[in-house]
């Protein structure tokens, strides 16, 4: 296995990108990453995307994106793992470079979610749950995470206010991220008082519907300095785990076992523990998801994740900053792109390029990207060289 570095990243502002197509937004971010790295070619490409077939009627993205990026005939393949598609695409690129199969590999992610109406988007996203035994009965993703929230509140006393604190903290961070879809601050009252979607989850507990893409360029660490003028960031660990597709099949409804397992594997591979991590980008598709994720990754004891944002421990400047980018909540959640955008934030933080949301002295960053209710999860640890 070769050591692997990220030498370039690219992303444009996320949002409702009516004037641009799926292939446009992917290609623009991919070009930004290629230009950032300063490389003159790529050897292979992975495209993370959850369900372009349902969102825009286009499958076969390996070919579409290689064609429009002008890099055909290189090998290019779409990677699907629901909302973890981006993180898993990055991992496939990492494995490609680490194994020696290819030297310069692009890992990208994309989703175009606004070209269909809300009902269509809800349906497309619901395909990440158990179609026969959850969705058939009328469950939605906010509904599944709401049932996790009710369980967490019942067992540990987690409060409505603690959910709101997660949204408020992430929007504060996102207000300092010019690429975020919703770069503005919220109050606790706004979050708790907004439209109820699935009790107790309100619309402001949910990540938004987003069009967006992100890309990263990976190469062997020992080639990084020759290939690129950018400061290389080393991939210290890449881990991936799975769990039951149905939430009801789990022994503990609000414990994200796949996140725990992927986290354990990543810590072991890097020879690090939670105390060594400078900051983490977690998959806050809903506010309760961030609370459960920071417990499963070992930053908080089981049941105590609700105190994270409330106490300020997870703020930029706190003990363990969580989602300095604004997270999925404020930055947006184009599902297939999210995992790659998390890596992009870590790379930019480690290069010291994050302005008002910069985590001072950051040397090691972690990403956690999950599909469905964490039926799959990718965790990466990256460090300054």
């Amino acid at each position: 296995m070769r050591d692997v570095a990220v030498i370039g990243v690219g992303m444009q502002k996320w949002g409702e990108l009516w004037e641009k197509s799926l292939r446009d937004i992917f290609t623009e971010s991919a070009l930004l990453a290629i230009d950032d790295a300063g490389v003159d070619h790529i050897d292979a490409m992975y495209v993370g995307c959850m369900t372009s077939g349902l969102f825009v009627g286009q499958e076969h993205l390996g070919s579409v994106m290689a064609d429009y990026l002008g890099v055909a005939p290189i090998p290019s393949v779409r990677v699907e793992s629901a909302c973890a598609s981006g993180g898993v695409a990055f991992r496939q690129a990492f494995i490609d470079v680490a194994s020696g199969v290819h030297d310069i590999v692009l890992a990208g992610g994309v989703e175009k979610m606004n070209d269909i109406d809300g009902g269509g988007a809800t349906h497309a996203l619901s395909t990440a749950a158990d179609a026969e035994y959850e969705v058939y009965h009328g469950v939605t993703f906010p509904g599944l995470y709401a049932m996790m929230a009710v369980d967490h509140m019942h067992k540990y006393g987690t409060t409505r206010d603690q959910l709101s604190h997660v949204a408020v903290k992430n929007h504060r961070n996102g207000s300092r991220n010019p690429l975020a879809q919703y770069p503005y601050e919220l109050t606790l009252e706004q979050v708790a008082g907004s439209l109820l979607v699935a009790d107790p989850i309100t619309i402001l507990d949910c990540s938004p519907i987003t069009d967006g893409a992100a890309a990263a360029i990976l190469c062997p660490l020992d080639m990084a300095k020759r290939l690129s003028k950018r400061p290389p960031v080393k991939v210290l660990a890449s881990a991936h785990a799975t769990d039951t597709i149905a939430l009801h099949s789990r022994p503990d409804i609000s414990w994200l076992s796949a996140v725990e397992k992927a986290g354990e594997k990543a810590y072991k591979a890097a020879g690090l523990g939670p105390k060594d991590i400078s900051f983490v980008e977690v998959h806050d598709c809903f506010t309760i998801a961030e609370i459960c994720a920071i417990e499963a990754l070992g930053f908080f004891e089981r049941g105590k994740g609700g105190r994270g944002a409330e106490s300020g421990e997870t703020a930029v400047g706190g003990r363990i900053p969580v989602n300095p980018s604004g997270g999925l909540k404020s930055k947006g959640h184009p599902v297939g792109a999210t995992g790659v955008a998390q890596v992009l934030e870590v790379v930019k933080q480690l290069r010291g390029e994050c302005g008002g949301r910069q985590v001072k002295g950051a040397t090691i960053g972690m990403t956690q990207n999950m599909g469905g209710v964490a039926g799959s999860c990718a965790v990466h640890i990256l460090g300054s060289v």
Partner: protein, 131 residues
């Protein structure tokens, strides 16, 4: 949208709560599986789930999928049935503010939805409060 073949295939579980008990370790799987995820046994006997249990968690879906637009808002939950099998279903005949963790429920056979232009009526299980 399901085809009629798919609807027909799922009837043993939806209508009759047929599950599969692993002959090796005794774990009951609903729905049935080809291989036991606990002991990797591959032989099962057919069993029928009990119809009584308790709610482990719940929610009220207020923004629902278009297939359920006539029913929204509706209560949903995960219940553990006597014997340990857990499943997700709607909770019928309940006031939303009655919903509590631990609430006793039983399973009833109800209409779930209509599918497609022809409006196939889909039936299955729902929870109701066990009063």
């Amino acid at each position: 949208m399901s085809t009629s073949a798919r609807y027909w295939r799922e009837i043993p579980q939806r209508y009759r709560l047929e599950a599969a008990k692993c002959r090796k370790c005794g774990k009951v799987h609903f729905p049935p599986r080809v291989i036991c995820n606990t002991c990797r046994g591959r032989e099962f006997e057919k069993v029928v789930l009990p119809d009584a249990g308790r709610l482990l968690t719940h929610t009220v879906i207020r923004i629902g999928p278009s297939a359920f637009s006539n029913e929204t808002p509706y209560a949903m939950g995960i219940a553990e049935l006597d014997g340990g099998v857990r499943l997700t279903a709607q909770i019928a005949d309940v006031e939303f503010d009655e919903l509590t963790v631990g609430m006793p429920v039983r399973i009833e056979f109800r209409k779930l939805r209509e599918e497609g232009e022809a409006g196939i009526l889909c039936y299955g299980y729902k929870f109701v409060p066990a009063r």
